[in-house]
Structures are given as C-alpha cells and as structure tokens.
C-alpha cells in the first residue's frame, strides 16, 4: 500500500509538471486554456489522492474547489473573454519554444537540486513532491516571463498557483482556511485581470503586454 501510495502521488505530481511543460509548449490560446483545465484536473486528482492517503477529508474540499474553479469556471471565463475581445489566437513567444523548454528543463533540474540540498534528509515522497511543486511554480513564472500575450500571462500565474496548492496538499495538516483564501484570491485576481484586459484592449486594440511598455516610454 505504501508503495502504491507513493507511486500514485508521485505520478500525479509528475503529471502536473508534465502539464506545465505542455502549457509552455502550446502556441494557441484555446489549446492553452484546455491544457490549463487538464492541469487543474490533474491537480484536483492529486489533492484528492492526498486526502485519501492522509485521511484528511478537508482536502477533498480543496480538490473539489480546484476542479470547479480551475478546471471549469476560470477556463470558461477566459474563453469568453477571448471570444469577446476577438484576441488574436496565436500566442507570440518572446523566445522560441525550444529555448523555452530548455530553460524549463534547467529550472526543473534546479528545483530538484535545491530540494535535494535543503530537504535531503526528509523522506523521498515529501521531497519529490516539494521538488515537483517548486518546478511547477518556476515553470509558471517562466511562462509569465516569456509570453507576450496577457491572457497567457494570466494562465502562467494560475499554473504557478497550482504549484503552491500541490505543495500545500503534500504537507500534512494544512488548514482549510488557507486554501479558501488562496482559491478566492485567485478568483479575485482573475476578476481584476479580466477587467484589466478589457481596459488594455479598449485602450490599445491589443493585449500585447509590450504595448504597455511603449505607453510608458511615451509618458516619460
């Protein structure tokens, strides 16, 4: 049982890293959103498994929240925003997909090594989970850095947040309040960003975040 528990949670956490990579790889917005839903599904499965293994029923709630909001509500909202704004559906990367993936690999290696250093003594399961969570966070950050399009920046931010949830679920005894707080903060962020997107696109006819930069230059 112990072996299986380890295998499944490892598998799911790794799946989360895998979907993070797939997110990095996508170059169409709708595909990006679908992939994000997939990641949310994997996340909720992972959290649910943790709930089962740790026998912590409140984690089921977390899993459900993740499934509801992240796999369904947020992607649908973003879908509608994209459709409403008529955003160009190709994502422009600042750097090529290959380079991005290579950078992502380096980040995963970095995460592994860091966890090896600071949590070398901890048991393998916790360490690997933490390493994966850190990887997801770093990959989300990377995505925010390399993407021009504001929508994909939002997705990057939210996948970053998924990494935090993964880390939290792995650690035993995290209270439910925190999760609610995190979930709602993301929701609020989504609303804010949605409004923001409308604003940008009204102003500049584009949601290319670099349009903002040029604005700043002019303002000076």
């Amino acid at each position: 049982m112990k072996g299986l528990a380890f295998d499944v949670s490892h598998m799911l956490a790794g799946g989360l890293v895998l979907t993070s990579f797939l997110l990095l790889y996508q170059n169409r917005l709708y595909a990006l959103l679908n992939m994000y839903s997939l990641q949310a599904v994997v996340l909720s499965l992972s959290v649910a498994w943790q709930a089962f293994v740790q026998d912590a029923s409140h984690l089921y709630v977390t899993a459900f929240i993740a499934l509801l909001f992240k796999a369904v509500v947020i992607p649908l909202t973003l879908h509608r925003i994209i459709a409403r704004l008529g955003i160009q559906r190709d994502v422009e990367n600042v750097v090529g997909a290959g380079t991005t993936m290579l950078a992502g690999l380096a980040l995963v290696a970095l995460a592994e090594v860091v966890m090896l250093r600071i949590a070398g003594g901890a048991d393998v399961l916790a360490r690997e989970d933490l390493a994966f969570a850190l990887s997801v966070v770093l990959l989300g950050l990377l995505m925010m850095v390399v993407r021009r399009n504001a929508v994909s920046m939002v997705v990057g931010f939210m996948s970053l947040e998924n990494g935090l949830i993964l880390a939290a679920a792995g650690a035993k005894g995290m209270p439910l309040v925190v999760e609610f707080a995190v979930a709602f903060s993301v929701l609020v962020a989504l609303v804010v960003i949605g409004v923001f997107l409308f604003r940008i696109s009204e102003r500049f006819d584009s949601i290319d975040a670099e349009a903002l930069d040029s604005f700043r230059e002019r303002g000076r």
Binding site: A109, V113, L116
Partner: protein, 670 residues
Amino acid sequence: MTAVALCLAAVATLLALALAGGFVAATSFGRALVYGGTLALSLLVLLVAGDALLVGAAGETLMLPLGLPWVGARFHVDPLSAFFLVVVSLAAAAASLYALGYGRHERDPGRVLPFFPAFLAGMILVLVAADAYTFLLSWEFMSLASWALVMAHHREEQNARAAYVYLVMASFGTLALLVAFALLAGPDGHYAFAAMRAAPPAAGAATLAFLAALVGAGSKAGLAPLHVWLPLAHPAAPSHVSAMMSGAMTKVAVYAFIRIAFDLAGSPDWRLAIPLLIVGAASGIIGVLQALMDNDLKRVLAYSTIENIGLVFVGLGFAYAFRAAGFPAAAALAMTAALLHAFNHAVFKSLLFFGAGAVLSATGERRLDKLGGLLNRMPATGLFMLVGAAAISALPPLNGFVSEWMILQSVLLSPSFPQWTLKILAPAVGAGVALTAALAAACFVRAFGIPFLGRPRSEAAERAGEVDRFSLAAMAVLAALCLVAGLFPGQAIDALAAATDLAVGAHMPSQSSMPWLSIAPVAASRSSYNGLLVGVFILMSATTASTIIHRFASGAVRRAPAWDCGFPDSSPSTQYSGESFSQPIRRVFGRIAFVVEERIDMPRPGETRPARLELRLGDRIWNTLYRPLIVAVERAAVQLNRLQFLTIRQYLGVVFGALVALLVVLATWP
C-alpha cells in the same frame, strides 16, 4: 631488437627519407621512393606496435644521449603509446599507399615530399617519448612539419592565412603543454615520465596541469573553442596529408591528453570531469553544425573531425569521472569507447579525405555546389566514400556505431555518480552525444549525396573519371577495415585491454568468450550487441527480398526521364544544393553556432532579374572570442611599436631595468 628500438630506427630512416625526398622531389622515382619508404616503415611500426599492444607488457626504457646534456632523451613504448602507434602508423600506411598514386597530381612535390616523412617521424617520436623535454621537442617538430605541409600550396591566399593561424595556435598549444609539464615536473625538475609518476604533484598543481593539458592537447585535437585553426589548416594541405592530420595527428593530441591527465597527473578529482564533458559535448555539437553548413567538401570533413574528437573527449570525461568515483569497470568501458572511437575515426576520416582527394583530382573542385552525379562516373570511389560516410554516421553494422554505442552505454552507468552535478550533467551530455550522432548522419547524407548523387552541377563534374589504382587500393583497405571492425568489435575491444589497464587501471571483461562473437560491456542481460549477426541478418533479408521479388514478381527495368511530379526541369541548378539541403537544420539549430543573416532580394512584379537569397553565416565563437583578442593584440602591437624608436641610451635603460627587476625578483623569492 625491442619495440622502442625498432620505432626509433624507423624514425631515423624516415628522417633520412625526408632528406632524400628534398633532393629527388622532382622525379617520379622520388615519389615512389618516399611514399614507398613511408609505406614500408609505417607497416613495420604497425607490426611492432601491434605486437606490443597485444603482449601488453611495459617495454624497456631506452636512454639516448641526445638533447639536454644532463637529462638525455628517454624513449619508451607501453601499451598506451603502442595503441596510438597502431592508429598513427595505420593511417600513415594508408596515406602512403594513397599518395603513391595521388602524389602524381602534386604541382610542387618539393614542398611535400621532404616534409611528409618528417611529419610521420615527428608523430612517432611524440608517442615514444618518455620525458617531458623529448616530448615537447617532438611535439614542436610534428607541428612544424605539418605546418610546412599546410604551406605546400602557399600561393593560394587562404592557405597562407590558414598556415598563419595554425602556427599561432600550435605555438599557443605547445606553451600550454610546457606549463603542464613544468607543473608536473615540480621544483626538482623531474623530466622523465617515470619520475613524475613516482612523485605525483600536489592537488593544486595537478589540477592546473590537467587544465593546461586540456588546453594544449585540446587545441591540437581541435576541441571547441580552440578549434578555429583546424578547419582552415587541415583542408589546405594535400589530401593525403589532410587525412594524416585529421586521422592521426589529432589522435596524437588525444594521446598527449591521456598521458598527462590519466597517467601523470596523479589521483583524479571528479570536478575536472565537468569541463571535459562539457567541452567534449560542445565540440561535438558545434563541429557537426559547422560541418552541416559548410560548402567545401574537405572543410566539411575537417569540421566533422572536431565533432568526433568531441565524442572521444566525452568518452574520456566519463572514464575520468568513473575513475574518480571508484568504478573501475565503468571507467574501463568509457575509456575503451574513447580509444575505439579514436581508432575508428582515424580509419573512416582517412578514407573520407582520400575520397575527397580523389574527387579533387578528378574534377579540380572541392565545392559541393559544383559537383554532382559522381557515383556514375567514379563508381569505386563512390562506393568507398559511401562506406566511410555510413561508418562515420554510426550506422550498424559498421565500426562507427560500435564506439558510439559504447559511449551511450557508459552514459547509462552514470546514475551511480555520487555527485549531483555529474548526475545532471551525464544525461545532458548523453543527449548531446545522441544529437551529435543524428546530425552527423544528416551531415553525411549531404556530404555524400550532393557531390556523388544527382546530376552534375558543372562541366568538371560531368567529365570526371575514376582515379588511379593506388588511391583505390588505399580506400578499399580502409573501407574493408570499417566493415571488419564493425563486424568483429569484440576482438578490437580485447586488443585495447592493456591500454585501458594503463590509463584507468582496469579493462573490460574479455569479449572473445562471448557466444557468437557478440559484445556485452557489463553483462549480457544489461546490453549486448552483435555486429556480425546484425550484418548477416541485413544481408540475408535483403537478398531474400530481392530474390523473391525477382523470381516471383518482376525483374524488368525501364530507363526513362525523371518524373519529378510532372515538373521535371532539365537544368541541374534546380536540384537541391548543399545550402538548400541544410536550410531546415540551419533554421532550427543554426543560432547555436552562428550569427545567421539572410537577405532576400525579391524583384518587383514585372522585373526580369532573378530573385536572390543572400546568406551570411558568422561564426559565433570567432566573433565573441577571437576577434576581441585579435583587436587587443593589434592594439598592444601599436603600443609596443613605440619601443622601436628609442635612443640607444633608452634601449640600454630598458635592458638595465629588466636586469634589475629580475634580480629583485630573485632576491625576494621565498
């Protein structure tokens, strides 16, 4: 006579031959004498060294009263030097045989004949030298002889530049080796290798010596980023000399590195494996990418030498790391892989340079976009070139595959490293090796396919004919060797046992006891490969298929114009050229090694001039590393130029100041 005495006798005869070559150069007898002589002597060395390698005992040290009076010159043949003697003499024998015919095309034999035996003598001397002084002297002799050969066609402007760059880089390399030996010799000045071995240097000095050796030997071997001279110098020489430089001289540099880093520098430090692995993998990828982009057949081969030397150094890096981590069996595997790849590369790179030389003498062209369709006009050369290209692309059942397979097998043993740096580096290097191998296959599809297949792109290619028998014989021997070494890798591995014993203190399990002549580096359940069976299976299934089809279906053939989707174009320039072939790869990988500049000049509708695509490739390494250096040197030269216009009193003042400064240093030396 002992092995070392025989080798020295061969060297003496070679030097005499070099002198004689200067006098009889103009005659055809001179050619026969020199190349016949080098052929006989290199075969002698091959026999002697092969025997020494198989016997595997450390021979005696011969001391001659040459050189520095209180040091003398020591010579010694142990299994490691014997292995490299085999490589060098094999390449030299093939090159001599080839040159018996190819030398006829030489316009100025007086610039080649004296230096060819001298070059060979220099390489043999480096390999048998057993003290630092003799080693460096022979090394410099080898460099200068090969420099003279690069200058053989000095009237072409780019050759003169190549020779200049080569001279600068060779001097730099020798300087680095001098530093390495100085550090190994220590304050007491142990010049002899045996004495260095007996008194290993302190850790810091050993590290510095290792790095100096990597720089010195690496620059001669063509490791990135010290490789820039190689693609200029190797192709500039006559083709049989190019073969010797790429096939043999780079191996002498590998020998120098193994001798210093594995044999003399004391116990290994795992951190030093990191630069070795990184530099090896980087050389592999950069070399093969450059080879893919270049349009000159001989330069493609020279760049591919950089790639293969990179693979050899990856093998050495793993061997070093395994030795440092205390896994002798794994170290032996990696070392065997490196040595075997060095041998294989000597064989197929010589073969390919011979083929390029044959193309050059048949058409007068080296540029890929002026060749084409040569397989129909030079069928034998084409066949041998094809074997060489397949071997260097690591296709089974030829020899190149065996050594690359073994390098990958040693990658698979690397999770057992205790250090996480190596753990992460190992799969990255392994992926780099795989990428290099795959790109090499693409490179040789291009390097063989563009000149030998398709339709002739120039009149010279159209009129080409088969080359002479000596050249063909040399190529045939090497092509056969590619096949034999690929079919019976176990024998080759067993022959290397003594050399790996010396380098890493262990050797691979004997392969001759394996059933069916297969090889298994660690255990049969882990991985095994049988070149012979794979070869036989391929042959069997190909003949079965063709027999069945010809017997039961149809054997009729009709010749017709090419179809080309209904749009055949009679102009040969509509074919894919070398540049267009590598365009997709350039687009994907080009930016790793190049600054790519593409300009499309598209005429407006109605204009009658043709559209043009201009492509400029800037070498990143040259731009970032060498150009600033050159600028700095030039600036310093301008500054120093002022010293030329001093008065006599000022000159004396400078000399006096220097003397005083030296004395002060001496007085305050701890």
